[in-house]
Symmetry: C2
């Protein structure tokens, strides 16, 4: 009778040790593992005690693996790799058309939701879950199949595809746009920035150097989504990125006031964890009209 629980050390300890072995460094292993160096040190020590053998020779700031350490690290790595492959394969065969996406609130509402709705109205649509948050940390913690990331470049540990560049421009309902002679006399719909990355009317004025915007009447509606909703209702001028608002513009609910465009150097990307995009997820992304 196999009794692995008794015969094997705590397996996550092996996983920690394998990382130390690969990096030849406790501190870097800790970074990969997202724990403190002390936690890694402790676990490897306990593993050595469990096994009754030294795995790592420590000397001041240097470390080397013992012969046993080398053997165990290689074998652990093999087992972990095997399990990883197996789980990836399992995900590929089992996802059977299920797509989880994440993005910030505006992109979710104005860019993703229309796409998802179009897709879901079609035939044989797989279930799609969409999670919205204006905090990157939330999005990253989610482990969605893919997420729409807004920033300068794709973060480390992720890979993906550029969707479009960020270009800020005043946005209004078509009727409002026709009646607006000058931004100076208009009501500019403003919002509270949740991260420094965002561009509000104050930023836009400063970066564009346009004194009309400085002088115009600005009303703070709190959330960015509110400014867009209010602009659609024809009650003011919001700031927006025409690519994000593609559906609203196509539908004729919003137009860009094309005299004013501000490029920030930031873009929108669809990203996934490095190596964790299954063929099936790739296919589903295409079906939801998210280009890779």
């Amino acid at each position: 009778m196999k009794n692995y629980r008794r015969a094997l050390p705590p397996l996550d300890y092996l996983l920690f040790f394998e990382a130390v072995a690969r990096h030849q460094n406790f501190t870097r292993a800790a970074e990969e593992l997202n724990v403190s160096q002390a936690a890694v040190s402790k676990r490897v020590k306990v593993l050595e005690e469990w096994l009754g053998m030294t795995l790592v020779n420590r000397s001041g700031r240097n470390l080397s693996l013992t012969r046993n350490g080398q053997v165990l690290a290689a074998n652990s790595g093999e087992a972990l790799d095997f399990l990883h492959s197996c789980l990836q394969q399992l995900r590929r065969t089992s996802s059977s058309g299920r797509l989880s996406l994440a993005a910030n609130v505006a992109v979710s509402q104005f860019w993703l939701t229309p796409r998802i709705n179009e897709y879901l109205l079609g035939q044989d649509a797989a279930p799609v879950t969409l999670t919205s948050s204006d905090k990157d940390a939330d999005l990253f913690a989610l482990e969605a199949d893919a997420l729409i990331y807004y920033g300068k470049e794709i973060p480390d540990g992720w890979e993906g595809s550029l969707l479009f560049e960020e270009i800020w421009t005043p946005i209004a309902a078509p009727e409002m746009a026709r009646q607006t002679a000058s931004l100076e006399t208009a009501t500019l719909l403003d919002f509270d920035k949740l991260t420094p990355k965002w561009v509000n009317w104050g930023d836009f004025a400063a970066l564009s150097g346009d004194p009309q915007i400085e002088r115009a009447n600005k009303v703070n509606l709190g959330s960015y989504g509110s400014t867009l909703d209010t602009a659609i209702r024809g009650r003011g001028i919001a700031l927006g990125c025409p690519d994000v608002l593609h559906f609203e513009i196509e539908a004729g609910r919003l137009v860009a006031l094309s005299d004013y465009q501000l490029k920030t150097g930031r873009s929108y990307f669809v990203i996934w964890r490095t190596g964790l995009l299954s063929e099936q997820t790739r296919s589903l992304l295409s079906e939801v009209a998210i280009p890779l």
Copy 2:
């Protein structure tokens, strides 16, 4: 860059699941794993959530694996087996002459220590560690290479070899033995039983049906080891098992009063965890004169 911590579920959860899959039963898996059924149920549930897929179909008192469950169980089993083999191999190549033994206090002192000492006085002796406890649970928890077990039969999950049967008989120093006409007039050295398995003078009297022993003067010295030490000093008569006390008897420090022998049906075994005796440990046991 591999980051197994992020990409793999808690590995001990896989180990639990593999046991469930093998047994097709949460309760029996829990027994193997030495935890409650509830703990197993919980872990498998969390694993399913982590993976986002059902592994086990539950219906009342029945359970079956899903397709995914079967695949994962097979692969997990393979990985665990691989790791187990690797660790066994590592132990074989790394033990390099180191033997750890465990036994209860009396056997350690009177049976094992003399043997170990003889061995250590020889050439090229490997280090030997000996741990003594009168509590079986302590001995089992220790994971020594081998232990001397006292009981009716080899416990489940262990294998080993019979050393000798338990036979209780009065034991005294040779001079004391010559002067003792009858147990009734002797001082009987008694002790506190730590487990029901032990036989003290009260038990011996009852089981042998000898009224002399009932009537004799009994002095309680507390520990069994003390009774033997005191008997060696010629200050009374202890109870003992001649095979355990082989060295003392050979050395002429103790003799058995051979008129009184009580067989209990219990024996002494050398045991190790099933499948965990390396060839090297086997060899070392022989060198320490522990017959297999």
